[in-house]
């Protein structure tokens, strides 16, 4: 495990380092911007960050309280991020993962250790702008210490071709009084094949809030599997899934919430919009092992609401424009 030059110094050293590195760094930063990332954040010394392209760690910036160790692997990178106990990290840690080539494999193994009573946010952009035959595998382990809070927002951009498989698996442990908020968004460009699995174990009075948004078209395949185990007394869990599919795209959402302790409260909320020949499935599973726990779910799958559609058309929008606005609104 080692640290790399900070992005701030790396950008200024573009002309001085080897040309291949500079080209790759420029390309991944361009892709990062296309995916909605802000370059200024990667260039700031006050913001912790890491830039990873393929199996290369192009830049890392650590700040007091946030430690980032990385190791390059044959087909990817192993990253370990530690936030010190009690640290209050002012700006979200910015992470840029991606691959510029059209083909290949990227495997990211990551560990997050959030110390007791720490509070930190992460803003991750995963970008594969030229993907034609690409596979991105991610395995993450997250431990949120007692009383700590971690907010993790991950935005994906997979380019216009759909030739990509994205297979992230994450396991999160939220210790007592801890809080985990996760937002996953893949609403621009093609999805390709997404297989997202997220498991969260929540201890006493802990909170897990998971939000997942995806928009698939053509022959995209979306599979989301989220499991929240509310293991401690008064633990709270919420999953909110919003998926829209059109053309021949397929969406499958499997959500499980377990109420395993007294006072545990869980809710699962899934809405999927289907257009054209697309298909969607939602399978909510509710498990309650304690008579003082309560878990609920709501799901709606179907076309765009006729009333919403006609309301927007009565303002002068075409049907296609109205559908797009409704879906974009739902996907935020």
């Amino acid at each position: 495990m080692s640290s790399r030059p900070s992005p701030a110094s790396a950008t200024s050293l573009l002309g001085q380092r080897d040309p291949a590195w500079a080209r790759e760094f420029e390309a991944i930063l361009r892709a990062y911007e296309e995916a909605g990332g802000k370059l200024t954040a990667l260039q700031s010394e006050r913001i912790a960050s890491a830039v990873i392209s393929g199996n290369r760690v192009l830049a890392v910036n650590e700040i007091p309280g946030v430690h980032i160790e990385t190791e390059e692997l044959p087909a990817g990178v192993h990253a370990r991020i530690v936030v010190d106990p009690g640290a209050r990290v002012e700006y979200p840690v910015h992470l840029c993962f991606g691959m510029v080539p059209a083909e290949g494999l990227q495997e990211i193994l990551s560990e997050f250790e959030i110390g007791e009573e720490a509070e930190v946010g992460f803003l991750a952009h995963c970008t594969f702008p030229n993907a034609l035959d690409l596979r991105h595998v991610m395995e993450a382990h997250i431990r949120i210490g007692p009383g700590a809070t971690m907010r993790y927002a991950e935005g994906h951009y997979h380019g216009p071709h759909g030739g990509i498989q994205v297979l992230p698996t994450t396991h999160v442990t939220v210790e007592k009084d801890g809080r985990f908020e996760n937002e996953f968004s893949l609403v621009h460009g093609r999805v390709g094949r997404l297989q997202l699995r997220l498991e969260v174990d929540v201890a006493a009075r802990g909170v897990a809030e998971l939000s997942t948004k995806a928009y698939g078209f053509d022959d995209d395949v979306i599979r989301v599997e989220e499991i929240v185990r509310l293991n401690g007394p008064d633990a709270r869990g919420l999953t909110k899934t919003r998926v829209a599919v059109r053309d021949r795209a397929v969406s499958e959402v499997y959500t499980t919430a377990e109420g395993n302790a007294p006072g545990a409260r869980g809710h699962m909320d899934c809405t999927e919009i289907v257009r054209g020949e697309a298909a969607a499935r939602n399978v909510p599973v509710v498990v309650v092992r304690d008579d003082l726990a309560r878990v609920t779910h709501e799901a709606a799958i179907g076309s765009v609401s006729r009333k919403e559609l006609e309301t927007l058309m009565a303002r002068g929008l075409s049907e296609e424009e109205a559908v797009d606005i409704i879906i974009r609104g739902m996907l935020g």
Binding site: S305, R306, K307, E310, A314, R315, G316, I325, G332
Partner: protein, 265 residues
């Protein structure tokens, strides 16, 4: 409003079928620019069906008759095409839009949207732009707030014909006066307003009124006269069934018996 010029809207002998019911049965109606025309009638008499038919909503295509707008036959036009001609509708129960902010929603219908115009539309319905422009039009808003935003959206479009389906329901007492003032302002700007309401004070502010019963407009005239006609001759169905003077066997006559109401002729 001036009836010297040709009518803006002409509804000619329009019939509409819905599954299991004939909801409009030969409706005739004319409206002029700047006119506030109130549509009265019991529940189920066809008021909202007429509103949906004029807007071109799915399932409300006339089986007979035609609708002319500014001389153009719009009977087969889509909702969007009608909206582009200047027709719009404020729904009785406005839709919710997850993630769509009120400011963006209002701007959608404006020909030349601007923040200033969006703010003016919110102010016209007594909503603070600072508090509402960024709020999503979703279930977190109360029914009254959604109604006001719906009215603001209609107002912001500057339509030529605004169909307002019970814009005063779910609105607080003070709000009713504001809605009435907004309607007058729209009419003064030349908008023809078809107003569906159950409130006397709203109906009194109209230029003309029509009474619809059993899917047919049975009387049109001065609002006071039509309200009097409505109040004295229309009864809910349950009462009508039990009250012999309203039944034919007692020598009375009635025009229509519909699911929820009877109007004596």
């Amino acid at each position: 409003m001036s009836q010297a010029q040709p009518p803006l809207l002409v509804v000619e002998e329009v019939w509409v079928n819905r599954p299991g019911a004939e909801v409009l049965r030969g409706v005739n109606l004319e409206m002029w620019p700047g006119e506030v025309h109130v549509l009265l009638g019991l529940n189920g008499s066809g008021k909202t069906s007429l509103a949906y038919t004029l807007m071109g909503c799915a399932g409300y295509r006339p089986t007979r008759g035609r609708i002319l707008f500014d001389g153009q036959d719009i009977t087969s036009l889509s909702i969007a095409d009608r909206a582009r001609l200047g027709i719009t509708l404020a729904w009785q129960e406005p839709a919710c839009f997850e993630g769509l902010r009120a400011g963006d929603y209002l701007a959608l219908g404006m020909r030349e949207p601007s923040r200033k115009r969006v703010e003016a539309a919110l102010q016209a319905v007594a909503l603070s732009p600072a508090a509402y422009i960024g709020r999503p039009v979703n279930h977190a808003l109360s029914g009254g707030e959604r109604k006001r935003i719906e009215l603001a959206a209609v107002y912001g479009m500057r339509p030529r014909l605004a169909i307002l389906d019970e814009p005063d329901s779910g609105i607080d007492v003070l709000g009713v006066e504001e809605v009435a003032a907004l309607i007058r302002r729209m009419a003064e700007a030349g908008t023809a307003v078809l107003l569906i309401t159950h409130r006397d004070e709203m109906a009194a502010a109209a230029d003309r009124a029509s009474l619809i019963c059993g899917g047919t407009i049975i009387h049109t005239g001065d609002p006071d006269e039509v309200r009097e006609y409505f109040a004295s001759r229309c009864r809910p169905h349950e009462e009508a069934l039990g009250a012999q003077p309203w039944g034919p066997e007692a020598g009375g006559t009635y025009r229509r018996v519909v699911s929820e109401g009877v109007c004596d002729e």
